[in-house]
Amino acid sequence: MLVTGLLFVYVASAINDMEFSAWKDSHLQRYSMDLLTVLEKSGYLENAVITEDTSQLQNVIAKTSKSLCFLLNIKDSGETILSLQKQDCKITYKRRLITRRTFIARGDQTKVYEAELYGWYKEEL
C-alpha cells in the first residue's frame, strides 16, 4: 500500500512539474524561418556575400527577440565563408534548432549560397 501511495505521489508530482516544450520549439522554428526569409528577401544575405560585410545582418540579428540566440553561417559549396553570432549569447545550450535557406547572389558571377541558422533559447544557458 505504501509503495502504491508513493507511486501515486510521484505521478502527481511529475504532473505538477510538467512543462510544454513543443510550443517553444515551434515558436523558435517559425521565428528562425521568418528571420532567414526576411534577410533573403530584403537582400541583406546577398549584400553580405558580395561585400563581405556582415554589419547589416548583425544589426538585424541584434534586434531579434531578447530571449532568442542565433548563430548564422553563410556557406559556399559547404564551406563557411561568413559567420556571425548574436551578442551576449554563448554557444552552450540544451537544444538548438537548425534552419537552412538557399539564396542566389549576383556578384561577379551568379552563385547559389546556403544560409544556415542555429537558434536556441537564452534561458537554457
Binding site: G5, L6, M18, Y31, D34, T37, V38, T64, S65
Partner: protein, 169 residues
Amino acid sequence: MSSCKGQLYSTDLVFAVVAFLVVLLTFLTLWQSGVTRISYFEAERWREEATRFAAEQLVETPGYPTHWEQIANITDTNVRSIGLAGERNVISPAKLQRFLSFQGQSEYELVKRILGVSRYEMGVVVENLDGDEIAGYKNTPPTNQSVSSVSRLAIYNGSIVVVRVYVWE
C-alpha cells in the same frame, strides 16, 4: 493462555493508519494541484494555437480570395481568409490599410471569426525592429490576465518589421 485482544490498537496499526493518511492527503493535494495545472495548460494551449494560426494567416498568406481588400462589404461568405502578405513574409500596404479600417465592433467580430479567434479578444501591432509602433489594430492587451502573443518577422515598405498578434480571454 495467550489472548489476541488488543492487537487492533497496536502501535503498528496506528503507524500504518497515520502513514496511509499522510500519503493519501499528500496525493490528493498534489492531484488537485495537477488537475488545476493541466486545465490551465489546456486553456493556454488552445489560445496559443489560435494565436499562432491567426499570425500565420496574416503574415504568410494573401488571404482568400487574394483580392479581399478590394471587396467593399466583407462577410463570412465572400471572404474566407484574411492575410496581409503580398507574398510570404512581405506585407502588402493595401491589405494592411484595409485590415486597419475594420474598426467597428461588428467588423472586429467578423475579423476574429475569419482569423479563428472568435472565442477571444485580439490585437495586432506592427513594429519596427526598435519596437516603435508603425500600425496597430484594435485592443491593447490587458496587464492583469494571461495573454498569448506571437511575433513574426516580415517586410513592410522595404523594412524588416515585427508583426505581433495578441490574443486573450
